[in-house]
């Protein structure tokens, strides 16, 4: 670039920036080129950077396995929902961590089981069973869910999540359906 500027004649013109139309054209081209290069580098770095930043969240959902909750004998038919804790290994990035998941389990018959999430569908506070109200109570915004998880009162947009369950060898399993 500089080389061409050094040629006699052109050097003279470039001494006056606003001087000639060819300079105006040249500068317009330069401005566009700078813009293009800047945009190119930004994109070449920005797109991988976006994938880099969002990487873990896009590879996370693979835990579709059955999670064991324990013996079915501990759940009495017709009794109020029991909070059962299960420990699962969750892999996040390079770390594998033990995570505790709690769910409410009820059974009317002793053979069919309902597994409900204990996470309020409003803002993810943990709900608790309140015997007097015959429902799940969320302490954050006083929401109440019925025994089947349906919204009775308060802001939650949908019923409590219910999970698919399965009994094998007297052990109760659930998974996120």
């Amino acid at each position: 670039m500089q080389g061409s500027e050094e040629r006699p004649g052109r050097a003279e013109r470039s001494a006056d920036p606003e001087g000639s139309t060819s300079d105006v054209h040249r500068r317009r081209f330069l401005r566009r080129a700078i813009l293009a290069i800047g945009a190119g580098i930004t994109a070449a770095l920005g797109i991988p950077a976006f994938a880099f930043v969002t990487g873990p969240s896009r590879t996370g959902v693979d835990e579709e396995t059955w999670i064991r909750l324990g013996s079915t004998a501990s759940i009495e038919p017709g009794a109020p929902p029991t909070l059962i804790k299960a420990t699962v290994l969750r892999r996040s990035g390079y770390l594998t961590e033990e995570q505790e998941i709690s769910v409410f389990v009820t059974s009317e018959t002793g053979t069919e089981f309902t597994v409900l999430s204990n996470i309020c569908t409003h803002l993810a506070c943990r709900v608790r069973w309140v015997e007097e109200q015959e429902g799940f109570f969320c302490p954050c915004h006083n929401a109440v869910f019925g025994p089947d998880g349906a919204v009775v009162q308060g802001p939650p947009p949908r019923p409590l999540d219910s999970f698919e369950s399965m009994v094998e060898d007297g052990q109760l399993y659930f998974r996120e359906a």
Binding site: P17, L45, F52, Y94, L95
Partner: protein
């Protein structure tokens, strides 16, 4: 619409004046060697961007440092690219900074009225080396560890202050998790802050005094 918006902003920020002063100023005719400074600045920006991205995953604790760098390099999408750019960017930065300095020496550009610009430049070169040295340890692999053993040992050689320098670098008698976290702190907070400050001064002076013209033979 666009011009009204820029008018609105100009009235409140005076950006047009700054733009004219910084970008539309006239400079002597220069050759390609004068792009070395801006190229160094470009790589510095590149290092800042990729460095910030890397801190999203990096943990300055020996076991996790290695595991997280391994994860970034081998598992994360484009992790190899981000780390690769940061790694090679360090080399490019050193190379460009040195070439920039050679250009300045060759053209006598450190002379009046640019002495202060020169001093900040030398300091920035030292900071660049310090970046390289502190960053080298962070992956906590064999190469990193043993190069740091040697590097800190070298720091202990100068008389009187040697032992103190070494202890200061290591955060103890030998390389440990403390060394790693202080190298991390230096690499991510101390050095970048100093660098930003010095680069700001450097650039301000470049704009204020103007870029030096390539001297002719008789100058």
């Amino acid at each position: 619409m666009a011009s009204r918006l820029s008018e609105w902003f100009d009235e409140r920020t005076g950006w047009r004046g700054s733009w004219t002063a910084v970008f539309l100023r006239k400079i002597p005719k220069v050759n390609w060697a004068y792009t070395l400074g801006s190229a160094t600045l470009f790589v510095l920006v590149l290092q800042f961007v990729t460095g910030i991205l890397l801190t999203l995953y990096y943990v300055p604790e020996p076991q996790q440092a290695y595991a997280s760098v391994d994860y970034v390099t081998n598992e994360l999408p484009f992790g190899w690219l981000i780390r690769g750019i940061h790694h090679w960017g360090a080399s490019a930065m050193v190379l460009l900074a040195v070439l920039h300095m050679v250009r300045v020496i060759a053209y006598g550009a450190y002379k009046y009225p640019r002495e202060v610009t020169w001093i900040t430049g030398v300091a920035l070169l030292l900071l660049t080396f310090a970046f390289g040295f502190t960053g080298y340890l962070l992956p906590w692999d064999q190469r990193a560890y043993w190069a740091t053993v040697v590097g800190t040992e070298i720091g202990a050689v100068p008389p009187l202050v040697g032992d103190f320098t070494k202890d200061l670098m290591l955060g103890g008698d030998e390389i440990s998790g403390l060394t790693l976290s202080r190298f991390f702190g230096a690499h991510v907070w101390v050095l970048p802050s100093l660098t930003v400050l010095l680069v700001a001064i450097h650039l301000y002076l470049v704009v204020r005094n103007g870029i030096s013209a390539p001297p002719k033979r008789n100058e």
